[in-house]
Symmetry: C3
Subunit: 446 residues, 3 copies
């Protein structure tokens, strides 16, 4: 595009600077022959008239060709690309529209207690439409067909990016909190997020200001309740929340990252006046929770605090998070739940986990299956733990270890195998259970 | 496009009309020198042979360039544009496909009685695919993700536009009735339609003939029941209806409109044999009805009659509607409910409300935020009233006043603030209540 | 595209081969005049210098034009087409994305017993996104908005086509079984499949290998359970199945087909341990089953076997299938249900039913409505029978005859009228009933 414009401008310059008729030596020759007397005055007049006419005609022809070349080399108004999804950009950079999708197909088999049913499932099946309007505005609508009605609406917002240092967002999107939930499920290291995702801050309708820099990011927002929440009579106020996350990346080079992060997430429970935390053993098909506080009544609000650390060193990457949640009850004493995980992966094929704006992003394999390559191969290991027991609430505590392998045959496909071994459930309804899971995922996402 | 074709044709003409070799003065010079005896016969032969060869070569070169220019300036088969959504048109005008969407994000806070819960909501989140097939056929599929299953299907039809004076439509679309319901929710003056929208004729599966002229429109159709209706046993017939609307626009100029309209909407209740009319206080989040007839049993059919008037005078516009509904009961006496509203708005920034084919359309701001402008700013005021009490049915009567402000930073974005003050609810379950609502909406639509 | 490249290469060749300055006769003339002594040595030097400069300038100009022509005639990276939906292909053949949809709108009226409610319905309203990634990979996501949540997900898979003789598919798609269920509902002969569709093998999450040849196809796969199945506690294993279909097409010419097919479909019932078969009278709106086994308890597994035959002879086509299902019960004796149908159609307008890869495909009318044509007109007749009674299970047996007419005004539109006459229901809850159906469909699909 740059090149094209340069050529075009050069061309226009050349068109005007160009001599009106290249054959000036003929004029010189005729003049000489006239001066020499070889050509008579009468002949000279006729020759010069003919020459002028030809010069004019040649100049006109040239201009016409130049005009048509300018028209022909003008870049089209829009640029269309496809990598699975569709992307259309206007050449002036003012508009952009992207249609994309995501499909995650799972199969699981379970061992140990509690009983969990083997099976298959479509984990996510999404379409999304996003883009840019008049440079400064952005929009996104993303829907997950595995959910029903408005519960399937994921990102649905508009944004303003016209300020130099800050972006504004209004709509439905994730509260800024926790590295593993900020990272897309397309790009997380395992099939499911680690146990402390029980403290996932979720998506709500709200507004957020954020700023992204090479070495730090900051985001803070105010949020209403989950879409479709509100009691059936419509008389109770919905809950609301506030959330903020700051990240510091003292080392941010290609293939070398050191990331530190801190998040705060506050939520008032509104008319429901209750809270519940629970978690499955890092699997989804059976849908069985191994730890579960049940509905905790008379809860006014709760506050989550999370600390993050992550690093990338060439093909090796590691990340860990600790999250603690304090639940404020109207009468009884406050409750404290917490959990943490640490995970690491290594690319056998030499790729590096990608990082951008305070979270992990898509890996691009060095060689592609379909172009003679073998894709990217990644081995991964995780330990995670979650404690949902405090005071009179016996939700249970669970520890688990996961080994995983990811194969990325192309930048938009991923196949994953995970083996999750729950080391122990301590307390709660599943006290003493030690289930294990072998699960597979096939994914396309663009 | 027009321009391009003209240039192309001009170019082809120029290619054939053009002299085969501009330098004819050389030929003249050589001839003169030969006549003068300066150039010998032998030299003359050689020069003329060389000249002919060069002329032939030049003509060939020129033709080759012309061919390539013609190829290069040929317009592409399709034209792709984006303004948020995508639009692809075939150059021959036979096919067109448009992918668009709509997002409306709301927040509301309530005062007074009855109790209504403050909160946030995604009001509409739609995708739509529409277009043209072989000139004469049209199609449209629009889905709203905030609803579940087939209830989320909005416009879903095919149309035939091959007749000169009439368009035919078959599928799922709005019955032709009432100015405020014919106007898209993207383009109505306030966040919610006025109270008489309780008599909204809705969308049904049916077929319709319509004709649109500068000074009048007429539409009439036959319709089945709401999608997904029909009793669970499948043994009862669904309801059906007929609807017609005629509009007269004696004044239809840019920024100066006078519109009059009349609508009739008849509905047979089918197996359900009942009817219900109800309305919220021009808000949606809490979902509380302030007037409500409840289910009226033993209803065979009902007929709605509506009268419309609207005007645009530069930045000022106003519209009013009156709708009355007569409910025919099997045994008891007939019931009559009615309502009306009047609303006006003024664009501080000088734009005019747009009007096309008997309804209001999208406002385009004179200046755009993101291009140094401030967008369009509109102030609006509305009074509306609805009476759902008659004979033994005490649904209640409500009057309300709304003040609103719309900001259109770009042609596809709108931010709205509305304050609704219900002056009085008279009768029904909420007799004497006077709730008020402050609500905000963020919208993108294309 | 081919043409363009050839022209481009020719052009580049021509640019380098071309003489640097066409007017070589001037040089000859000057030389002659110099030799003749008409031009002095001094004049000769000046003329030759001027000539060289002009030659250089002309060569530069020419090269610049050539460069710009090469740029202007370079084909774009992607090819965009629309026929209702959108298709974008990268020129290198590596990527392809298609956005399409389908809308089927029905109206039905019923006669005879059992009571069935007249009405209208949206039968299918689908969007689908599909394409190709890096040559060898494929993907597809198709959603039907008339269903709720994950039940609306139809085809949702990824595929690998990099082997020469075999394609692999993983995801959610139809088990390979039965000609009439393999053929898209866009392209079947009547509005609904024949009665033996009660033995429809359905879509499941699984993996399949298949190979398609001109004279035969083979597909075999392993499948999990229906999406969203699994008991509410999550403790029971889901069911699973295996399916295979082989087809032989000894005659496979344009407008002349002879097809034979055989299918096997096995299903283990999993935790539900039950089975149910039922069928409506080849209609959908009322949703009343005329034969129904009810839930058969204590079923371990069942096996379906199907035989297919079909032929196309110019505008005439016919197809027939027989399917038998053996239900294995834990304690009671096995059950055998079966059914068959035979159907034929004739295109009054001379088109032929299309066939590809072992199933029927889209008909393209010879003339198009909107381009002066009348579209394609097809008359069709069908007999079908289904027996769901065996041993202690009295589901009933039904026979029906259908006459149909299809009008295809364009390749993407179809209007259908069907009259179904159920000759007799023998046994079951509707013993002795003889309902009839008149139903209409409007369809667009691309």
């Amino acid at each position: 595009m740059k090149l094209k414009t340069t050529m075009l401008l050069a061309g226009l310059g050349f068109a005007t600077a160009m001599p009106s008729y290249a054959g000036s030596e003929i004029e010189s020759l005729i003049n000489m022959l006239h001066e020499n007397g070889t050509v008579t005055d009468d002949q000279y007049q006729r020759l010069m008239a003919e020459l002028k006419q030809n010069q004019t005609q040649a100049a006109e022809d040239k201009a016409e060709v130049e005009d048509k070349l300018a028209e022909a080399t003008k870049p089209s108004d829009v640029e269309v690309t496809t990598n699975g999804g569709l992307k259309v950009k206007s050449r002036d950079g003012k508009f952009e529209t992207k249609l994309g999708g995501r499909l995650q197909l799972d199969a699981s088999t379970y061992g140990g207690e509690p009983d969990m049913g083997d099976g298959t499932d479509i984990r996510r099946a999404r379409l999304n439409l996003q883009g840019k309007l008049y440079h400064d505005w952005g929009f996104r609508l993303q829907y997950d067909f595995v959910d029903e009605g408005s519960r399937g609406i994921k990102d649905a917002y508009l944004s303003y990016n016209g300020f130099e240092q800050m972006a504004l967002k209004v709509g439905h999107f994730r509260d800024p909190f926790s590295l593993q939930t900020q990272t897309s499920t397309n790009d997380i290291m395992f099939m499911e997020r680690a146990l402390p995702a029980a403290f996932d801050a979720g998506r709500h309708i709200g507004m957020m200001a954020s700023t992204n820099h090479k070495h730090w990011t900051l985001a803070a927002g105010l949020f209403g309740d989950t879409v479709g929440s509100g009691d059936s009579t419509g008389t109770e106020d919905e809950g609301w929340g506030a959330s903020s996350r700051v990240t510091w990346t003292p080392v941010n080079k290609q293939s070398q990252i050191l990331h530190l992060g801190l998040g705060l997430n506050y939520r008032e429970t509104g008319g429901s006046n209750s809270a519940r935390f629970r978690q499955q053993p890092e699997t989804h098909i059976a849908g069985v929770n191994i730890v579960d506080t049940g509905t905790i009544a008379a809860v006014n609000d709760f506050l989550k605090v999370g600390a993050e650390i992550a690093t990338v060193q060439g093909p090796f990457s590691a990340q860990a998070e600790y999250i603690t949640t304090s639940v404020q009850r109207d009468a009884d004493r406050d409750l404290d739940f917490d959990g943490w995980y640490a995970q690491a992966s290594y690319f056998l094929t030499g790729e590096s986990r990608q990082y951008k704006d305070g979270k992990f992003a898509r890996v691009t394999p060095k060689s592609i299956v379909g172009e003679g390559g073998i894709g990217a191969w990644e081995l991964a290991l995780r330990f995670s733990t979650l404690d949902l027991s405090d005071a009179d609430i016996d939700g249970g505590e669970a520890d688990s270890v996961t080994v995983g392998m990811n194969w990325y045959p192309t930048p938009t496909l991923r196949f994953t195998a995970n083996y999750v071994d729950v080391l122990d459930v301590d307390g709660g309804a599943n006290d003493g259970d030690e289930p294990s899971v072998l699960q597979l995922r096939s994914q396309w996402a663009f």
